[in-house]
């Protein structure tokens, strides 16, 4: 879709000229008499109560989750709500607060997160902390001891059902031998004990309470982490609520040397850098796959600016991005404006019907229409070539593919422009047209010299936002052409790749998800788009002189 995403305000470009409100209210205006109605008091109490309730609900959760920034935001927002809305004062603040709040939560915070991420290696293989990586490596290394049996497991306790201490009762499925032991002990035979075995499971033991499945599940963190040794090297590993086996942990972490040792082969893995990130690496340079999220400084930006080929391709993508965004903006505007002008004429009957029909492309979800269009363009089986009896290689030829993308995007975006222009046209007084006619202007002159400049005053900012939106219109490219066609030997940039679709492929295509790199590129794109939009808004200022 070629509509801009929601901006706060959205409408008029700010101008200092036509808004001469001074901060003090003019003295000739009588202060409005204030009345406090029951309704407004009730409403106020309800809202403040709700705000307090939400804060009271969130704070413990955020505290538990250690999300300090969010905690600060929630506290600050709640305090602000109380200060601003509980009294009669701070009238400007009452209006100022919601917008600011949204600005911070929906714009500033995501930008901060993105910038933070740009300096890390966050992505597939680098998600958690180092401790988590070590735990995963060692826990995943437990193998079943050779020739060891699977045991039928029952968990029992002499203490509480949640906390333990727990004792494991094991029945060898083949021999029926009953073994047991608690945390830190060695497994021993239960021949001396008074245990009841039913269907191969210990169901009762004197002095113990046997847990049921749900209780085992609840206390599973404790139960699965207790050590019940079978020999020096192997221990009982619980698997699920009913079974266990004799397992050997083949990878052991040593905190002193910050290294992991494979007890089977004797290999030692120490922390070493491969590329930009630390891994556990052995003497042969073989690494363990699990790494962790680390700060890697400017490495992501170096990867972006240090790769000549990539930069060249980004340059190529940039120029097509500009053409695509400007072209989409221009064509949608021209088509939408033309239709709006036509349907604004009183001589046309059934205007409502036409208008609703013209809105159809806007009403169909973009995802669906883009995918359907992509099928239309198929050279051999597509609707367009079949209907028009053509043999155009729409998606296989870079130039035709660019045309196809612009065509489709125009189709998707013109209804928006049509609505906007219809609205703007109806706000232009008919007297102006009449005056132009009396002055001897032709219809064409009236439209181009009188109507259009007036219309652009209100529509120009929307053209800017449409441009900015299309500059990063990922869907229009990805769903239609996937950035293709790709010339033989070219894998970075396809014929219709705009910056964002190309970056997406680099960051999420080749090596799984690479959020760090993607964020770094996003920061750069953000700067580019920002500068462009700022320049355009400055340019639209000149239109203000028309009024």
């Amino acid at each position: 879709m070629t509509s801009p995403t929601a901006h706060t305000g959205g409408g008029r470009a700010a101008s200092g000229a036509d808004n001469p409100d001074s901060p003090q209210s003019p003295p000739n205006r009588m202060p409005r008499e204030r009345t406090t109605t029951i309704r407004s008091v009730l409403g106020r109490i309800l809202v403040l109560g709700a705000a307090l309730a939400v804060a009271a609900y969130l704070l413990p959760l955020l505290f538990a989750g250690r999300m300090w920034l969010w905690m600060f935001i929630v506290v600050a927002a709640t305090v602000a709500i109380f200060v601003l809305f509980s009294t009669r004062r701070f009238i400007p603040g009452k209006y100022f607060f919601p917008g600011t709040f949204f600005l911070v939560v929906f714009l500033i915070v995501p930008i901060v997160i993105t910038v933070q991420t740009a300096f890390t290696n966050f992505g597939d293989g680098f998600r958690g902390t180092k401790e988590e990586a070590i735990t995963t490596i060692t826990n995943n290394s437990v193998v079943q001891a050779a020739d060891s049996a699977l045991y039928n497991l029952s968990v029992a306790t002499t203490g509480s059902l949640e906390e333990g201490p727990f004792t494991l009762f094991l029945v060898d499925a083949e021999t029926g031998e009953v073994l047991y032991g608690a945390d830190g002990e060695m497994v021993q035979s239960a021949t001396e004990m008074d245990v009841t075995v039913t269907d191969g499971y210990v169901t009762a033991a004197a002095g113990y309470t046997v847990l049921n499945g749900k209780q085992v599940n609840t206390a599973y963190d404790t139960i699965s982490n207790l050590t019940l040794s079978v020999s020096d090297t192997s221990a009982i590993k619980v698997q699920g609520v009913r079974s266990a086996f004799e397992g050997i942990k083949t990878m052991v972490y040593d905190e002193q040397t910050d290294s992991i040792t494979n007890t089977q082969t004797g290999e030692v893995y120490t922390v070493q850098k491969i590329g930009n990130s630390d891994y556990f690496v052995n003497a042969d340079g073989e690494r363990l796959v699990q790494s962790w999220k680390q700060d890697i400084g400017l490495a992501n930006f170096q990867r972006l600016f240090g790769n000549q080929n990539l930069l060249k391709q980004l340059g190529g993508a940039f120029s097509w991005t500009l053409i695509f965004a400007a072209g989409s903006m221009l064509f949608t505007f021209l088509l939408g404006y033309f239709l709006a002008l036509t349907l604004n004429d009183d001589r046309i009957r059934g205007k409502k019907l036409y208008r609703s029909l013209l809105l159809l492309p806007y009403a169909v979800p973009g995802f669906i229409s883009l995918l359907i269009w992509s099928n239309f363009y198929n050279r051999d089986f597509g609707l367009i070539n079949e209907l028009l009896n053509l043999n155009i290689d729409w998606l296989g030829n870079p130039t035709w593919a660019k045309i196809a993308v612009l065509l489709t995007n125009t189709w998707m975006g013109f209804p928006y422009m049509f609505i906007v222009c219809t609205g703007a046209l109806q706000s232009i007084p008919d007297e102006l047209k009449e005056a132009a006619r009396i002055d001897g202007a032709s219809g064409w002159q009236t439209t181009t010299r009188v109507i259009t400049p007036l219309l652009l005053v209100s529509v120009a900012p929307l053209l800017v936002s449409t441009f900015a939106f299309n500059f990063n219109n990922f869907n229009a490219i990805q769903l239609l052409t996937e950035g293709g066609p790709f010339a033989p030997g070219e894998y970075t940039r396809g014929g219709t790749d705009i910056l964002i679709s190309m970056v997406y492929r680099i960051a999420f295509g080749g090596s799984g998800a690479d959020y760090g790199f993607a964020s770094a590129v996003s920061v750069v794109l953000f700067l580019i788009t920002g500068v462009l939009a700022a320049a355009q808004f400055t340019a639209t200022r000149r239109l203000e002189d028309i009024n």
Partner: protein, 430 residues
């Protein structure tokens, strides 16, 4: 202070309600909502993807895609009833892998997922799944391909329940060569049949390395070499080697003959066959339902290789149950995994709802008489290669596919394959 996307998303949802409440509280606040047309189509890139929220009321939460969820829901609950627990099977329609990894590392993911085995490498490197142990009886009942597929770093990481691979569908009304011995014979028979399209094999503008794999392997290409212990060696890349170039020559020749075409893609490959426009189709067991519904008189055969060259070896993708590393109910997840492996009753119940080729030998035997096509797929799978599950595979799909698409379109096979190899090597840092 740690900020992450997930916390941001959940917070914004809450913040919205807060601020909305605040905004409504002043009686005559100007409504400036809706002044510009909002549109919620955020790209799946850095946009917020749809968040799947774990069903907290259940004692075992399984995430999977829509089709598998339908087959699993009642069966899983039936098992749960015996344990006196609630099982929730939740559908994650979009990006199950990404959602699962993110949710699991945030500590609010599911207890299990059902997915294809080629995710294992990425799931393991992100610490998202735990190894499982199969008892010897269960192990013996599984086909070798299924066990190979779920093995990673010498550990079993999933419990397999079905296998998918590619086969050749023949439209018997168009041609009577139902089991061509070579690709050349297939091309000849297809051209003689007078069908619009000889062979419907998805290529598309950006290529489709998965569907091209049988031809690529028959021509002598391979993706990764093997170490002595049978595991894949990510440093030995077969793309760009002699075999891959020979295969590319052959694939290019098929493109010249219009047997392969970029205009056949994943979007239309099956429908071209069900509309009776194509004499042959290369697809998986997922196409059977559509083909049967269309009333095509068809037969399933093995995909032939090129004349005088190697055997065509498609990929085998094994669907399996994985136990999440950080699930809240890991105990029940591990128990359910053992239950699925123990015998084929759960797989059989799922088969009744969504038939997919089984990996348990006793179930395959049962189906021999009732569902011959499925058993054929089981046979073909036995001769297939498990899709590589190492994370490095992510670097291959894109470039290899694009190279193959260009070769079909007439690009020079040698230079194109070599450039694909360079691209892959630079991604992998070889």
């Amino acid at each position: 202070m740690s900020l992450n996307r997930r916390s941001f998303l959940s917070m914004t949802a809450i913040a919205t309600t807060l601020a909305a409440a605040a905004a409504c509280s002043s009686d005559d606040a100007p409504s400036d909502a809706g002044s510009s047309s909002a549109q919620a189509d955020t790209p799946p890139a850095e946009g917020a993807e749809e968040q799947v929220v774990r069903d907290d009321s259940a004692d075992l939460v399984i995430w999977t895609d829509e089709v598998k969820a339908g087959a699993l829901k009642d069966i899983a609950q039936e098992w749960g009833n015996k344990q006196d627990i609630n099982v929730a099977v939740q559908i994650v329609a979009d990006d199950l892998q990404g959602n699962f990894i993110a949710a699991n590392s945030a500590g609010n993911g599911p207890d299990m997922i059902v997915a294809a085995h080629d995710w294992i490498g990425n799931l393991v490197q992100n610490g998202s799944i735990s190894p499982i142990t199969l008892d010897s009886a269960a192990e013996a009942n599984y086909s070798q391909i299924a066990l190979d597929a779920v093995t990673y770093n010498g550990q079993y990481y999933g419990v397999p329940y079905c296998v998918e691979t590619l086969a050749l569908y023949v439209n018997k009304d168009l041609t009577d060569v139902t089991a061509p011995a070579t690709i050349e014979e297939l091309a000849e028979a297809g051209q003689a049949s007078g069908a619009d399209l000889v062979l419907s094999l998805p290529v598309g503008e950006s290529g489709d390395a998965y569907h091209m794999q049988p031809l690529y392997t028959s021509g002598g290409g391979y993706l990764f070499g093997k170490k002595d212990d049978g595991s894949l060696d990510a440093t030995d890349l077969g793309v760009g080697g002699e075999g891959s170039i020979a295969a590319a020559e052959k694939i290019g020749a098929l493109g010249q003959q219009k047997v392969l075409s970029k205009t056949v893609s994943g979007d239309n490959a099956i429908s071209l066959f069900t509309e009776g426009k194509a004499a042959y189709l290369i697809s998986g067991p997922w196409a059977i339902a559509d083909i049967t519904k269309a009333g095509i008189n068809y037969e399933v055969s093995k995909i032939p290789g090129f004349e005088g060259m190697g055997e065509a070896r498609p990929f085998a993708g094994v669907n399996a149950f994985f136990v999440a590393n950080a699930g809240k109910n890991k105990a029940f997840a591990e128990t359910f995994a053992a239950e699925i492996a123990k015998d084929s009753s759960i797989a059989e119940a799922m088969y009744a709802i969504n038939p997919l080729p089984p990996v348990q030998q006793d179930l395959a035997k049962k189906l021999e008489s009732s569902d011959a096509n499925m058993v054929k797929f089981v046979e073909f799978a036995a001769g297939a290669d498990p899709m590589p599950s190492i994370p490095e595979m992510a670097a291959i799909w894109g470039p290899l596919g694009m190279a193959e698409a260009n070769i079909v379109d007439g690009a020079d096979s040698k230079s194109t394959m070599t450039s694909a190899a360079e691209e892959i090597k630079s991604t992998l840092g070889l």
